[in-house]
């Protein structure tokens, strides 16, 4: 990869992170507004709940697609971290191929479902569900690309990263 490509990739990564931060901020701010409206102004509104649940749904899929790194992933690593690098590369190739195959096989039906959802709208913000749900397709495509890359790297001789538990915040 050339320097420019690398720079572009890093730039895109930072923009993806901006989006994730904005989504989490949206969850947070709409909740705070909900509390303000309900308890301070005595004027309950419904849209805050809808906005925060949709932002959370987007945060999960967008984040999983573009922001979560291999080190952040939650995995069952008793075996994985105990084997040799060579074996781990083998593991990575097998799991990448399996996941890519399964995601690809389900992709047409998934796209069909997402498009079908144009029949419904989010009730307050008036956005069609096919637009809102399209983030799953993004996620599936990103996962396919990411695992193709990881599998390719493993074939070329690079062992995949381990999960770093001090990075996890899962309980």
């Amino acid at each position: 990869m050339t320097m420019n490509q690398l720079r572009l990739l890093r730039w895109m990564k930072r923009r993806a992170e901006n989006v994730a931060v904005a989504l989490l901020a949206t969850v947070f701010v709409s909740f705070i507004l909900q509390i303000l409206f309900r308890y301070v102004l005595g004027w309950p509104v419904g849209w805050t709940l809808e906005v925060s649940t949709l932002a959370w749904m987007w945060l999960v899929l967008w984040g999983a697609a573009f922001v979560v790194t291999e080190r952040d992933e939650i995995r069952f690593d008793i075996v994985y971290s105990a084997v040799s690098r060579r074996t781990r590369r083998g593991f990575a190739i097998v799991t990448a191929m399996a996941l890519i195959a399964l995601l690809l096989v389900s992709l047409p039906a998934t796209v069909d479902y997402v498009m079908f959802m144009k029949v419904e709208k989010a009730s307050y913000i008036d956005i069609r569900l096919d637009y809102l749900f399209s983030v799953y397709v993004l996620f599936a495509l990103a996962a396919i690309v990411r695992y193709a890359w990881l599998g390719f790297e493993a074939i070329r001789g690079r062992a995949p990263d381990l999960t770093d538990p001090s990075h996890l915040r899962d309980e």
Partner: protein, 301 residues
């Protein structure tokens, strides 16, 4: 030949009267169908049953008319407050010509076959403050919990209240702590969720005849022989009638029970509520999509 397997999904829980009715149905159909019930929205989340039926992922299920109205705005007339007078009126409507017109529309446009309306009680206002309620004006400023979604919230304002969305499972604590002043549900729900422990009165506004629809995926329906269709239809109707009867008995009993628990249970000026609500609906965007003359036809039945 194999018996057709019919997965069934509903939001109501395992211990609901309607779950008993479905188990009766399962038994009655057992020689011709394998009915596999899933209660408590475990298979498909609340509000997603309709799409599951449409896409053929679910064979039979209970669909809320509000969910149908999301895709078919004409149906919003059937979700309006003070539309049906009682369970009988509801049943009469769905058996009538205008009723068939509406179910035919759902069949053609959404791909679901509606068999019968499933009554689950009449929604009444249940309040914590002791203030006496006679007319919608008395509801001003009352934080009334209503289910989420703009149609439900509108219903709350059509009662003159200040509608607040809140998850059903948080309503008890919400009432207890005063985060909300009241909620609206049929009496059996007030009993099951123990709302009577944390409220002081039930205002018998009877603002909405609560019902869902027993629906079959059109794909499934069309794959059945005419005999199978007839059997299914007859048995569903039998089960639904039984369930309706049980609900009516239960509601009558519960009104007395709540009085024994020290709650005030009384009728407000229902006519004033009816006029206020129907006016609100007719002025709203919802009424724009209502089929011409449908409201009058329903009122005339």
């Amino acid at each position: 030949q194999d018996k057709p397997t019919l997965k069934f999904a509903a939001v109501f829980g395992d211990t609901d009267i309607r779950a008993d009715a479905i188990r009766n149905l399962q038994e009655a159909l057992s020689s011709e169908f394998t009915l596999e019930p899933h209660f408590g929205a475990t298979l498909f989340k609340q509000g997603t049953e309709l799409v599951a039926l449409q896409r053929g992922n679910l064979e039979t299920g209970i669909v809320a008319p509000q969910d149908i109205a999301k895709q078919l705005p004409e149906w919003s007339v059937l979700t309006a407050a003070y539309l049906f007078r009682d369970a009988d009126h509801l049943k009469t409507f769905f058996a009538s010509e205008p009723g068939k017109e509406m179910t035919k529309m759902a069949e053609d446009k959404l791909g679901i076959r509606i068999i019968a309306p499933v009554y689950f009680g009449t929604r009444q206002v249940n309040l914590k403050p002791e203030k006496e309620i006679k007319t919608p004006a008395d509801m001003a400023g009352i934080k009334l919990r209503m289910p989420g979604g703009d149609a439900w919230q509108f219903l709350g304002s059509a009662l003159g209240a200040n509608p607040t969305p809140m998850a059903y499972s948080e309503v008890y604590t919400g009432l207890q702590t005063g985060a909300i002043d009241g909620q609206d549900n049929p009496l059996p729900n007030d009993y099951n969720m123990k709302f009577y422990e944390v409220t002081s009165q039930i205002v018998l506004t009877s603002h909405l005849i609560g019902y869902d629809l027993f629906a079959v995926s059109k794909k499934t329906w069309d794959s059945l022989t005419p005999e199978q269709q007839a059997t299914l239809e007859a048995e569903v109707n039998k089960a639904v009638d039984w369930s309706t009867q049980r609900h009516l008995e239960e509601e009558a009993k519960l009104a007395d029970f709540f009085k024994e628990q020290g709650l005030k249970v009384y009728k407000p000026d229902v006519e004033a509520f009816r006029q206020y609500a129907q006016q609100k609906y007719l002025e709203s965007d919802f009424a724009r999509d209502w089929p011409e003359g449908m409201l009058d036809k329903i009122n005339a039945l």
